[in-house]
Symmetry: C2
């Protein structure tokens, strides 16, 4: 969609290995975009377990409703994602479109309709004509291949300027298992559940209950800790699929979320989720800088996160970072407006290692030169210590530039 790639795009992509039991196909269905793929089908071997977290929006899209319903079964055979149309706020027509797609997908892989999952991303309010692509699914299922993860990430892009992939291998018991993930998202990004589309798959033999526990806990410090513009989408979807194929190679079947053998896998999954979430922030519309906001010394962790988000979502803080100004006064403002317990006279603020304010006043020893040099970097860390407790949280955002306004306001004028 965008002509220029974000300056924060990854310099290179990891080689994405195959996940046994997962096959991928993409197609140019011409739903909205021309001359690019806009349809993704992921086919899972029988026995694949699934978990998901979704937007907390009160106006969720039809596919989100569809997935929530099917998730109860815990089993997945096919995932169908289209870009260019969100199938959100499309009423009865939206439900008809998901039903039609679900039926076509189930026919394509001979599974139950309840084993199909759908996601749509793009324009809100435009009816989605599922007839335009549902006939493609059978052929896609036949021709799907295991080594198309980067293609998968490309097919689901909207205003993204680069595809987002991540991979990890990790021991489960004595056996190596793989985790692959893709994500999309650049605008309408705010932490309230998943905040964009992301699909993660593994060959580890984990039950749906284990997957759900891993995902629900993992999302808090990763996807739910990033914000581009505080605007929560109607379509946010994060799903985790486990084919279980690694069981053939000796990986243990795990059905208890508290199983100690999950420790390494959990850490690897959380790292992968954070990696994907940061890729979303770094592709934030108009972004030129990544901003990490850490709040320490708050009353509680929940309170720390609320204050961190108040800083990360403040237009004045974000424009100051865009202007390479360590405007800590605006950080004070954002702490103050969060409504959480704070004591002005114990507040200290850092930009990187530069302490600019201490105990409610400008730090008399801070170096203007060092701070100015620091603000020229493309990764800025802001820390506020409240000095009243032990609550701590970190969130990530990007700066607010004229390009954000151009991308979201200029398209018609």
């Amino acid at each position: 969609m965008s002509a220029t790639v974000s300056p924060l795009a990854p310099k290179k992509y990891p080689k994405m290995p195959a996940i046994e039991g997962v096959r991928i196909a993409t197609a140019e269905a011409g739903i909205k975009y021309k001359n690019r793929t806009d349809l993704l089908a992921v086919i899972f071997d029988e026995g694949t377990q699934v978990a998901g977290v979704f937007t907390r929006s009160k106006c969720p899209s039809a596919p989100v409703d569809f997935c929530r319903e099917n998730l109860a079964g815990g089993k997945a055979r096919m995932l169908v994602v289209n870009s260019g149309n969100a199938n959100a706020f499309t009423g009865k027509k939206g439900r008809e479109a998901t039903a039609l797609t679900g039926k076509a997908a189930a026919d394509a892989v001979s599974c139950k309709p309840g084993e199909v999952f759908l996601a749509s991303t793009g324009v809100i309010g435009e009816p989605l004509d599922a007839g335009r692509f549902s006939h493609l699914l059978a052929g896609m299922a036949r021709e799907a291949k295991s080594d198309l993860w980067l293609d998968a990430a490309k097919a689901i892009m909207t205003t993204d300027t680069y595809p987002k992939v991540a991979t990890a291998t990790v021991k489960l018991g004595e056996t190596e298992v793989t985790i692959n993930g893709i994500a999309k998202g650049a605008g309408m990004i705010a932490p309230d559940m998943a905040t964009m589309l992301s699909f993660v798959a593994t060959d580890a033999p984990l039950s749906a209950a284990v997957l759900q526990s891993l995902l629900s806990k993992g999302v808090g410090a990763t996807f739910n800790a990033v914000t581009v513009d505080s605007d929560t989408s109607t379509s946010d979807t994060l799903m985790l699929f486990a084919t279980g194929a690694a069981a053939k190679h000796g990986a243990p079947q795990i059905t208890d979320p508290n199983d100690a053998r999950l420790a390494q896998f959990r850490r690897a999954l959380n790292r992968l989720l954070k990696n994907l979430a940061l890729q979303v922030v770094r592709d934030g519309e108009g972004a030129r800088k990544q901003v990490e906001v850490t709040v320490t010394g708050a009353k509680s962790s929940r309170s720390a996160k609320k204050i961190a988000l108040s800083i990360a979502n403040s237009p004045l803080v974000k424009t100051a970072v865009a202007g390479e100004d360590a405007n800590w006064g605006r950080v004070v403002m954002a702490v103050g407006k969060a409504g959480e317990p704070a004591d002005r006279d114990r507040l200290s603020i850092w930009f990187g290692d530069n302490r600019l304010a201490v105990e409610g006043e400008r730090d008399p020893h801070y170096s203007e030169a060092a701070t100015s040099a620091y603000m020229k970097r493309d990764e800025i860390a802001i820390r506020a210590d409240l000095g009243i407790g032990r609550g701590k949280a970190t969130v990530w955002t990007c700066d607010l530039t004229k390009e954000y306004v151009a991308i979201n306001g200029d398209y018609r004028s």
Copy 2:
């Protein structure tokens, strides 16, 4: 501060009458700005009653603390306001500056220190050198005049592109009384108490308790219903002074907030507060359009206001208005993210008289041409009807343009 005046600035200013018992002086103290006034002193006759509402920020400025403390006495003799420095987050130095200014003001008009009120607006975190202007106060008190309301409004401007004044005359009992108000504010504006500086004075003989009741109730649908950028200032201050001079002309002394004779005065005051609040929105940094957001059919009025603010603060809604696009999908998104009760399939959305969405779907009868023409106006009304209750609220904001980012981000880069 700004070279170009907002296109939404008033075409002309009302003639501001004198308020008996109020005298005004301004000065060029050179606190930060050069070649303009930056200091305002308002002197009140003995017996003047006062009320105020202030920022709910947990990091309020030193003058806010000072005013809160003095408000308990309910009496005012002098108000001193400086622009260019907010005296916020200035620690012990900040308290010393308010003490010094308070003392100089009290000496200037021979009143108690508790009868002085202070406000400061400008940069946060910079110590305010009160010695730079406190010596001017005695002379200003001597030379103050009753017909300088527009000058008063000019002296307190920061990033404002025009001064903000309003006046009303209304019957109290059988006697005409006058209400004058000034305000400043353009950025760091969000509804949580007063959201900027505004000072209102009247010659009506109303007690401090009556004033506080009028102000606390009046602020909800006026100053607390406007937002420019969701960023609540550390310094927001709205004060109401009543000299009581109209008693000499027969106006009744009112000490009971529930006195029925207040009805007309209350309506006039609320209109004046709304007038000033809208002037602040219309001077929103970078604003080219005023946006009125009304939510009807919500579960409650409180819920309606929360949803209306979610729409009014959404960067995606505000950039769409800047781009003259009736992007109702983003309104759906903003309703959904508010976290308040909503039923997607009962939601309807209007831009002006153009209904774009009805009962959870795009309105099949809407006219693209009529809507596009409407979006070119400089006052845009957005309405969302939730269809689930009788709660109703209106808030006001402006569009989000590249100028906002330039004003807040370009000043150093």
